[in-house]
């Protein structure tokens, strides 16, 4: 066995070790019900803003707290507390990804990603509506 082989094997071992070590820290995308089953554990929940409830951001009271309601993929709605100032465009967002954990029937998010409608699609609506106007 040559030295280079020993080193290679050692590093392959380290590699597999690193995969396992960081695999533990990956989160899971779940729905609210599954998140509630493992309270306090970090996970990712995707869904859309529930527009029946208001988005509450009161910077004078707490500049880093935004609350709103989200419907997850299973159709369940939960109150979400985000520890960030209200992200711009939240009200118009198409979909939301929350990273955080379930706490007492709520979801506490520390990070949030949003997909906003691209203007491209919006303008297609414009095209459509102008088109119908043009025809009538």
């Amino acid at each position: 066995m040559k030295r280079t082989h020993i080193i290679s094997l050692l590093l392959i071992g380290a590699l597999i070790g690193s995969f396992i070590a960081t695999f533990i820290s990956t989160s899971r995308s779940v729905n609210f019900a599954e998140a509630a089953a493992t309270p306090g554990e970090e996970c990712k929940v995707s869904g859309t803003l529930n527009r029946d409830y208001p988005v509450v951001y009161e910077p004078e009271v707490d500049p880093t707290k935004t609350t709103f309601h989200m419907v997850d993929v299973a159709g369940e709605t939960q109150r979400v507390v985000l520890n960030q100032p209200k992200p711009t465009g939240l009200e118009n967002s198409e979909s939301i990804d929350l990273y955080g954990s379930a706490v007492d029937g709520e979801f506490h998010a520390t990070e949030m990603l949003m997909k906003c409608p691209s203007k491209y699609n919006e303008n297609n609506h414009v095209l459509l509506s102008e088109d119908t106007q043009g025809e009538s």
Binding site: L11, T22, T26, R28, P59, L113, S118
Partner: protein, 929 residues
């Protein structure tokens, strides 16, 4: 005959498509000719391909210049307001432009390669033309049923699939009748900056540069006894390292300067996937350096393999970012544009091509090719993921086979004290780093592979009682958000070893070195690095768990000093030797600056308002400061004042003045708040930086403040605002397309940066009713509670019942029950007591709206709880007294300039290395054959 659309450049669209088709066809001819060694035809075909590509690029620029909005690509990325200086950003703002930019560089590199002819030329050009063949197919825009082959950059809006069948597309006068076509959507304002002009071309040149070593390695695999391909490949490898490295760091600089991520590197999948090919290219190029002149090769398989996968990983990166598979795990990936299948075919074809070439025997190659064809048929039947999985497993198997039997090996043992041994170790470390990052980035891809296995995994998981298998069966892996856990845990130890290897190997000689001599040479660098790390630990508040970081800083300092020392002692005056140590110094500084500035960044903004007790501690993020217009608040070593705001173009800019912090004197009897508690000064003193330092000696805790103390109490401050030093203008970009986006403003010093951005700010005035009242929020307040409404501090002093004598004067009937809340209002100029009423008449609540005119405040008690002594009160504020405010964050990045300086040195070092290599190779090369 097709109808003629009025005013439409139908012929230009046709011309553009012809050019793309020509480019596609010519690259096909080039591939075939170069494979058949008809070099003359191949050369002409490639030139034709290049000319067509350049012409179609020029044509698109012309369409941009002429504002031809009937073209979808122009309409999507341009509008009438956009300044023409962003035309480049607009050009590569979409996928089509990105592909064209990539092709542009391949053509430039290809034309350069065509100027010299060696025995490898035909094969190298065949591979390069093959890459171009696939790339130009990405622009064809042909549909086979549902399968879309390419995105046509010359697509007319009326032909776009989402407009199919719409009535207006049939009108010949659509361009003139609909105002819609007089203006486009415009480029996303986020992309309208100069970084977008310089970052993509650099990055894509770096991507294109990986194709050349790939092509050389592929050619080299066909004749394994001849290693002369390594000399030109080495130059191109170093070129790729320099350009791709610069491109990646430019992306970081863009994120840091113009976007509000709060840093220059976020381990975002898109960033990662451009870093990974760089890592493997560095590894492969260093192995080339070893093997180029060596009689008996060392790690020959790895040399080939690293160069091959560098390009394959570029393709994989393109696949991840452009196919939409990353979906929402990345902030800047493209959405799915329907070319996922084609991208997949592209990636897999080259993965297959490279891995089949690794096999030496014709039978094995043929076998694998047959398997690939068979699997393609299976995939077309609908078992796509299964087919890909089998394909990848087969490739893994044959690669191990090729590694074991198909490459020349030397039996001699390398000396541990040889440069090549440590270069090899370093290369492997780079590979491990790249593999780990790819593993993390590929989680969405793994989910795709786990999906068909779901039922089996969950069954096995239940049978074997394995929670891991059950977990995997859900195929719902998502990247973790704790970067320390997901990346640093592995990358920091690797970086420590890499930096150490880099510092050591430079002083070792090829074959064998004198250990004692090397040791003596390294003493200086080692002592300097220990000194530097000691100073850092003394200066910065490192925690004990940050030990790996400190070791990394030490290790990076060692790499810098050792290579710097080499530069001065050994390479001095020898231009040809300066390149590599200089690049190493640069890389060391990049790592040093990145680790130090990121780990020791200090968020100096602190939220000081809000009822701390009601906030969830764990969730409480106190790093954002709310500041009212006209207020001056302490901010780390400064005082900050929000002066005003103004709009300039698409930006709302907030003018924040920064003042020096002057010492603040407290006199005996002064009363302050701190953390919700009241204190009184015992003696005269100058405030320290932290209240805790003063509390014991100078302050007395007042559990029950008297009226004077309550009235006089001010928030404790560590200083007062001194002379003004500078103004920063963080801004919010008004962006209709993507939502308003904050953009930072940064104050640069030589040794640190102050990076500030607006986390929340109002860009439009708040909604009011007809009389100008706004708000109307209901608050639950206890007696004794205070609340800030605009300029006014409102305190509920007490509650009292209205006596019968008072009732007529207050407009109450005798039978009414009236409760008055004694509300104290206080602002800079006035203090008044007000008494809004809570009236119950015949057990019905009579709403009583109370207005405190002088303060511009209206209130109404909604409900009242006598046992708790609490009430719900709705408060309105008049717009005339409203104060604007913003929520901002300010971060200090220490020594971040070390990073940028390192980047410049790295680019210079690689440029010098290429230049000196080129000169040397030219000398040693036989005259043109």
């Amino acid at each position: 005959m097709s109808p003629e659309y009025i005013g439409e450049w139908t012929e230009v669209a046709f011309l553009g498509r012809t050019l793309i088709a020509l480019a596609f066809g010519a690259s096909f001819v080039a591939v075939v000719s170069f494979l058949k060694e008809w070099n003359h035809i191949g050369k002409r075909a490639f030139q034709l391909h290049a000319i067509s590509t350049f012409a179609s690029i020029a044509l698109i620029f012309a369409l941009f210049g002429a504002h031809r909005y009937e073209f979808q690509y122009i309409w999507k990325h341009l509008n009438n307001e956009m300044p023409m200086r962003f035309i480049f950003s607009a050009f590569w703002g979409g996928q089509e432009g990105g592909f064209l930019l990539w092709m542009f560089w391949h053509n430039v590199l290809g034309l350069i390669l065509l100027r010299t002819t060696t025995r490898w030329s035909a094969k190298v050009m065949a591979t390069l033309s093959g890459i171009e063949l696939f790339l130009s197919s990405m622009l064809l825009g042909i549909y086979f049923g549902d399968f879309q082959l390419g995105l046509d950059p010359f697509l007319l809006l009326r032909e776009a699939p989402n407009n199919w069948g719409l009535p207006w597309t049939g009108r010949l006068d659509y361009l003139t009748s609909f105002p819609m076509f007089q203006d486009g959507q415009g480029l996303n304002p986020l992309l309208q900056n100069y970084w977008m002009t310089i970052h993509p071309p650099t990055l894509f040149l770096g991507f294109a540069a990986t194709s050349v070593p790939f092509a050389f390695a592929a050619a080299g695999l066909t004749q394994r006894d001849d290693r002369s391909w390594m000399t030109p490949a080495l130059r191109w490898g170093v070129f790729g390292i320099g350009i791709l490295g610069t491109g990646i760091l430019m992306g970081g600089a863009w994120a840091y300067e113009a976007l509000s991520f709060g840093g220059f590197w976020a381990w975002d999948p898109v960033e990662n996937s451009s870093l990974v090919p760089w890592l493997t290219l560095v590894a492969g190029t260093h192995l080339l350096l070893i093997n180029r002149n060596k009689k008996s090769p060392m790690a020959l398989f790895s040399t080939f393999y690293f160069l091959l996968i560098s390009f394959l990983l570029v393709l994989y990166s393109t696949f991840l970012t452009k196919s939409g598979i990353l979906g929402d795990t990345s902030v800047h990936s493209f959405v799915d544009s329907g070319i996922l299948p084609q991208l997949l075919v592209y990636v897999l074809s080259f993965v297959g091509f490279a891995h089949i070439l690794l096999l030496k025997s014709v039978q094995w190659r043929r076998g694998m090719a047959i398997l690939a064809v068979a699997l393609t048929v299976i995939a077309l039947k609908g078992y796509v993921i299964e087919a890909i999985a089998v394909f990848l497993l087969a490739l893994t198997f044959t690669t191990i086979k090729a590694y074991r039997t198909d490459f020349e090996r030397s039996s001699e043992e390398e000396s541990v004290w040889s440069r090549e041994f440590w270069m090899f170790v370093g290369s492997l470390l780079f590979l491990v780093s790249a593999a780990h990052i790819t593993w993390q980035t590929s989680l969405p891809v793994f989910n795709q592979f786990l999906e068909p296995l779901g039922p089996i995994l969950s069954k096995l998981g239940a049978e074997w009682n394995s929670s891991l298998l059950t977990d995997l069966s859900k195929h719902n892996l998502a990247p973790g958000t704790d970067l320390d856990q997901t990346y640093h845990l592995v990358q920091v130890p690797l970086a420590i070893l890499i930096m150490g290897t880099m510092g050591l190997a430079q002083w070792l000689k090829y074959k064998k070195s004198n250990v004692a001599q090397v040791g003596r040479s390294l003493i200086l660098s080692l002592s300097l690095s220990i000194l530097v790390s000691g100073v850092l630990v003394a200066l910065f508040p490192f925690e004990w768990w940050e030990l790996p970081r400190v070791v990394l800083l030490f290790s990076a300092a060692f790499a810098v000093f050792s290579n710097g020392d080499y530069l001065f002692r050994k390479a001095k005056g020898h231009w040809s030797k300066i390149g590599s140590p200089l690049a190493h110094v640069g890389f060391g500084l990049v790592i040093f600056g990145a680790v130090l500035s990121t780990s020791q960044k200090a968020i100096i903004s602190q939220n000081q308002i809000g009822d701390i007790s009601t906030l969830n501690e764990e969730l409480n993020n106190r790093e954002d400061l709310l500041i009212m217009e006209g207020d001056t608040l302490p901010l780390g070593p400064y005082f900050v004042s929000y002066r005003d705001r103004y709009q300039e173009g698409i930006h709302v800019k907030f003018r924040m003045d920064y003042f020096e912090k002057a010492p603040h004197n407290y006199a005996p009897g002064d009363v302050v708040f701190f953390d919700g508690m009241v204190f009184e000064a015992l003696e005269s003193h100058v405030a320290s930086a932290q209240f805790s330092e003063d509390m014991e000696d100078h302050w007395m805790f007042i559990p029950f403040p008297n009226e004077r103390q309550a009235a006089e109490a001010q928030i404790w401050k560590s200083g007062t605002a001194g002379p003004k030093q500078f103004t920063l203008e963080p801004r919010i970009q008004l962006n209709e397309q993507m939502g308003n986006a904050p953009e930072p403003d940064t104050r640069h010093w030589l040794h640190k940066d102050l990076y500030t951005h607006i986390k929340w700010g109002r860009v439009t005035p708040p909604e009011t009713d007809e009389e100008g009242w706004m708000g109307g929020r209901t608050h639950t307040m206890l007696v004794g509670d205070s609340m800030l409404i605009g300029h006014t501090l409102m305190t509920i002093d007490s509650l009292r019942a209205i006596t019968n004598e008072e009732k007529p004067a207050r407009g109450l009937l005798e039978k009414d029950i009236g409760i008055a809340a004694c509300v104290r209002l206080k602002n800079k100029t006035a203090r008044q007591l007000h008494e809004p009423l809570y009236i119950v008449r015949d057990s019905i609540i009579i709403p009583d709206l109370y207005e405190a005119e002088r303060f511009g405040i209206k209130m109404r008690i909604e409900s009242f709880d006598p046992t708790e002594e609490s009430l719900d009160m709705t408060v309105w504020e008049h717009e005339s007294v409203r104060r604007d405010f913003v929520v901002m964050q300010a971060v200090m990045f220490p020594l971040i300039n070390v990073l940028w300086f390192g980047c410049v040195l790295m680019a210079m070092g690689t440029a010098l290395a290429i230049w000196s290599r080129y000169k040397r190779d030219r000398k040693s090369m036989p005259p043109h054959d």
